[in-house]
Subunit: 301 residues, 2 copies
């Protein structure tokens, strides 16, 4: 199946292009970008022109930053294309609701992807937890924004979500593996004095769940989820890639997250179905709405 | 039908008690409050005791502040009672989703009320706009927090929503009368230096919709919505109570908002139905998530 990739930046080069190239389902038929392109692939600067000229391409995958993504998605849906959205699926919840309604009206597939849910340990963690009684969940997501988003000021702009850009990956895993819904009960957000979005967050949820997100972590990076149950303990390390149950390795393997997303998109298109789960974004919006605010040192890249 | 009223504060005395007293459908059978009571009505201090002892009361109406409301609602639902929620229906969206799911599971009615939708001009405004093409919508909601929430520090605490406490009334009307869904595209929020929630907000939505909320308005108070269409202009004044179409009075009348809510609740219980529309709260959460932040002068009552 032919796919057009829109937004040829870091995430496209690092993940989308290799995942499409390695897949038997997909052919990268066009790119749309102001400056980027992929060798041997038709490159458009003008999105409208691509949609108008390349009616042979039924699927559009959007990996540009969240702020402009809605307009691109709506155009694709209204042009009868199936759409795959990078996370987060919108800069607001209303955007997600609108896109879901428009895709249904147009009879096309919309897939709001959460790449971390495709990490190696996630499916077996979910299966193991399905019949357990959970007593405590601890999420620690600490990374260095300078390493992962070098110079990307958009992450601190309104709509960029700040530390929730990585933190929503943790929330996408937690909401996938836990057998019960959770809800935020308190939050403390740390805003750099010169920025509109937080650089750190401390979240308390119902059901013994808590999370610490921090973007100021130099040295070793930490993406861990620990779940304590009445029947043992589960640890997910490395952003869900490595599962440990009661101290014993239970699943691990090379990164296949984006391969998993494109395989799922192929299934959805074939089945004429959509997959739009806004739950991780609901928790982020709730954190902004309910959180108390602390102003911290200005941040510069 | 017997109803228990929980949280005997300003809104209960001003609105709920008279609306119940004037209704042919309802009997105020109990109150629950730390300090308040209503003459001639059984007064409980202990909510659990009321639920356990008064199994003859099938409906609980919650008018306490949003922060504790979820726990009270969940207890009532799990005790098999129908529940009526003051606005906002939760301090988070996850709370609303959880309550809706629990009510469905328990087979009881949940009514997330929006009293401003019952204002006199709202239903005729919705009917008039149904076939119009909207070009511009301007919302101006400016009131004096000292007059309407004297000394109520909870409105500035996390979960109290600040100026969105009245602003969500405007959003509940806008989302009711407009024939199309809208989505936030930008917001500026003004936080007093000593408070966790905004005292003013400037919102830009899709489809030509904008809103200004301000809680520092002394003198005349303003709760206006203007809708310009290709076939004329509609004005709602006084929080929806007074409708003007193309400059001519079209609907007005005394305040019957809470009477309308209790009449609707009676219908819902009889029909075995629920009415939980979180859309106004979605826009508030989106504003917190997408908004840029400006720090303004400290506020004291």
């Amino acid at each position: 199946m032919k796919v057009a990739l829109v937004g040829i930046g870091k995430i496209a080069r690092d993940q989308h292009v290799p995942a499409i190239a390695d897949s038997g389902d997909w052919e990268l038929a066009a790119t749309v970008s102001r400056s980027g392109s992929v060798t041997g692939v038709a490159a458009f600067h003008d999105y409208d022109a691509m949609l108008a000229e390349r009616t042979d391409i039924p699927v559009v995958s959007l990996c540009l930053p969240p702020q402009p993504r809605f307009d691109y998605a709506l155009k694709a849906i209204r042009a009868g294309r199936h759409v795959m959205l990078e996370k987060p699926p919108g800069q607001t919840l209303a955007e997600v609701h609108t896109l879901a309604a428009e895709a249904e009206k147009a009879g096309v597939t919309l897939f709001a992807t959460w790449h971390s849910r495709m990490a190696h340990g996630v499916a077996p963690a979910k299966a193991w937890l399905a019949d357990k009684t959970i007593t405590k969940v601890t999420v620690t997501w600490k990374e260095d924004v300078r390493r992962w988003h070098p110079g990307q000021d958009w992450v601190f702009e309104p709509g960029g979500m700040g530390v929730f850009d990585p933190g929503i990956n943790a929330l996408s895993i937690v909401t996938e593996i836990l057998p019960m819904p959770i809800r935020l009960t308190a939050a403390v957000l740390e805003f750099p004095a010169n920025r509109h979005t937080p650089i750190a967050a401390n979240l308390t949820f119902s059901d013994g769940v808590s999370a610490v997100f921090d973007w100021r972590q130099e040295g070793p990076q930490t993406w861990d989820i620990t779940v304590e149950t009445t029947a043992g303990r589960l640890d997910l390390h490395d952003g869900g890639a490595r599962l440990v149950i009661d101290g014993a390795p239970a699943a691990a393997g090379p990164d296949r997250e984006y391969a998993g997303l494109y395989a799922r998109m192929a299934e959805l298109v074939k089945a004429g179905a959509s997959d739009v789960d806004a739950t991780p974004l609901v928790h982020v919006a709730d954190a902004f709405m309910l959180g108390s605010r602390r102003t911290v040192l200005p941040f510069e890249f």
